[in-house]
């Protein structure tokens, strides 16, 4: 067990609610995980499962009406939620960087790539001469597979893939210890998607940052992540090494998710998951997945399963793997 200071990112019981007129929507409901140095975590889940909300909360850049209701986010040992706005700003980019969703709009159309990249550095008090900045930016661009000349260009002169490479170059410009990539490949075609994830992987390996890749493409996740977390209705239902998740999924939701993927070995009918995600305004009692779960029991409708770690660092939140008596003791205790 490592001490808190050695862990780049540690999230404890994070709760984020969107306050709407109908009441609070529990977008993220008690999520905990830890990221080791150089680790690559893939966070998957369907739309509305809270993936992007987690990403924004980790940057403390969540917008109204979202509010962090509880939990702690330790970045290199400091609780991000206890910091002032100015302190949070100084942590962004230098310690925790974000590769945004929607590559096509994430660059300012009226600024040259170089100026946009320099702005972030200057905000952190990096001062260099014009030539030094030019060399530095050209080197960063080369690291993500772009020509140094791209620095002089405007975003509308770049393709979607090139734009996303620029945002990756930005994110690694100050060697952060954590990078969050929130669906960096949305709005790109499959070939480019693969290249972008490869670029991210290489950049990540160079600086050794712990990385979270958010998305719903299981193929890309398998290519990138060393560990995977499965989100459902604001909760982390399963987390474990990527290979374990694919070969030995524990949670029924993960099992259904894996079995809905096309497979090259033998023909079979692809199965979907019946039903829809429950409303997060009034989540069902007990396990959030019991309304759609083929293996649901009476116990699932009453009692909320906790995330239990078993062998191989593989954890799941499902009653199938725990004895009712034991967990009842826990409940009463």
């Amino acid at each position: 067990m490592t001490t808190t200071n050695d862990v780049p990112l540690r999230v404890e019981n994070l709760e984020v609610h969107y306050h709407t007129r109908k009441g609070p929507v529990k977008a993220v409901d008690g999520v905990s995980f830890e990221l080791q140095k150089g680790e690559r975590l893939g966070l998957v889940g369907e739309s509305g499962s809270g993936k992007s909300t987690i990403a924004l909360s980790l940057m403390v850049a969540h917008k109204e009406p979202a509010k962090i209701e509880g939990g702690k986010i330790f970045l290199n040992g400091t609780d991000m939620l206890s910091l002032s706005d100015a302190e949070v700003r100084s942590k962004r980019l230098s310690e925790i960087a974000m590769v945004p969703q929607g590559a096509l709009n994430s660059l300012n159309p009226v600024m040259r790539v170089r100026d946009q990249m320099i702005d972030g550095l200057k905000a952190h008090g990096v001062s260099k001469s014009k030539e030094e900045f030019a060399d530095f930016i050209a080197e960063l661009l080369r690291r993500v597979g772009l020509d140094g000349g791209v620095a002089e260009m405007y975003p509308h002169e770049l393709s979607g893939g090139m734009k996303q490479r620029v945002t990756i170059a930005m994110s690694i410009s100050m060697n952060p210890s954590v990078i969050i990539a929130d669906e960096p490949t949305s709005a790109l075609d499959v070939v480019v998607q693969r290249q972008i994830v490869q670029t991210l992987l290489e950049a990540q390996k160079q600086i050794g940052a712990a990385t979270i890749l958010i998305g719903h493409d299981m193929g890309l996740m398998a290519q990138f992540a060393t560990r995977m977390g499965i989100m459902y209705a604001g909760r982390l239902v399963e987390i474990g090494p990527t290979r374990e998740i694919f070969n030995n999924p524990k949670h029924p939701y993960t099992q259904l998710l894996i079995s809905s993927l096309p497979n090259t070995q033998g023909k079979r009918r692809l199965s979907g998951i019946p039903g829809i995600t429950p409303s997060l305004l009034n989540p069902p009692p007990g396990c959030v997945f019991h309304t759609r779960c083929p293996k649901a029991t009476e116990r699932c409708k009453i009692e909320l399963p906790n995330l239990i770690t078993e062998e191989n660092e593989h954890s799941q939140a499902c009653h199938l793997y725990t004895e009712p008596a034991k967990s009842e003791e826990e409940v009463t205790a």
């Binding site: 940057m59 994430s106 009226v110 702005d119 972030g120 014009k130 509308h156």
Partner: protein
Amino acid sequence: MSSASPEIAPSDVQIDDDQIGIIKTVFEVIKRNKTLVSGLSILLLIGLFSLFGTLLIDPERTEVGAGRPAQSPSSEHILGTDQQGRDVFADLAYGTPASLIIGLIAGVIGVGIGTALGFLAGYYRGYWDTFISLTTDVFLTIPALLVLVVIASMTTVLSIEAMGLLIGFFAWMGPARTIRSQVLSLRDRSYVDVAKFNGVRDIEIIWRELVPTLMPYIAASFVGTVAAAILASIGLSALGLGPQNEPSLGLTIYWSVTYGALIREMWWWFGPPIVVIVMLFIGLFLMTAGLDQVSNPRLRTSV
């Protein structure tokens, strides 16, 4: 940079940071942006006319009795004289800059206040927004010209500068509203988020990310406000409520109307100020359209 990949090759807007690059950029803009150039030329022409006019023409020629009254154009008076013997050409030469100054003062004040309020309301939202939007909406319902007429008729001596200030204080609502709505849409753009993720401060986001993007709007509202202010000042003067002791385009129109220049077919009296006013507005309009192309790189046409 010469080893650019094929994707970079089609771009011909590779501009270096040195002086030659800047001069080249200006030249490129002139070559491509005919709208802006024609607008600027018209305004420059009017500006030069006022400058050399005020320098070369004796100000006494704008005074009553400077020449024989109601003379048609001759070699002595290029555009003739009015009913009270003022030289119409000299009147124009001194009156045009007065109208321009009123317009500029009002434009700077109106757009300055409006832009600041627009950014405050649009970017920070919350109570600021409620308060500013409410105030803007209330002020918009007040007919500015009516208030100006009342104020102008109450004050006995109104200088050119005071007139500009007065009009400026009734010209900020339009810019405040346009800028606010633009900022509302821009603040949620992905690249503003990216700047935030990169730890850039709010004030720098406004200054570096939003203001450059909004330059076309700010420039357009500036030119629009200047035009509206000139129109208001001419309107007030034409009603006889403007500065009476200094020549202005509106005052010339006021006298020509008062003395029935139209019925007496004294075209050299009522015609020239109208021509100057029309040219001024065409020039301002072309400038707005051209500025839009400068501020927005996507509208720049490659040759």
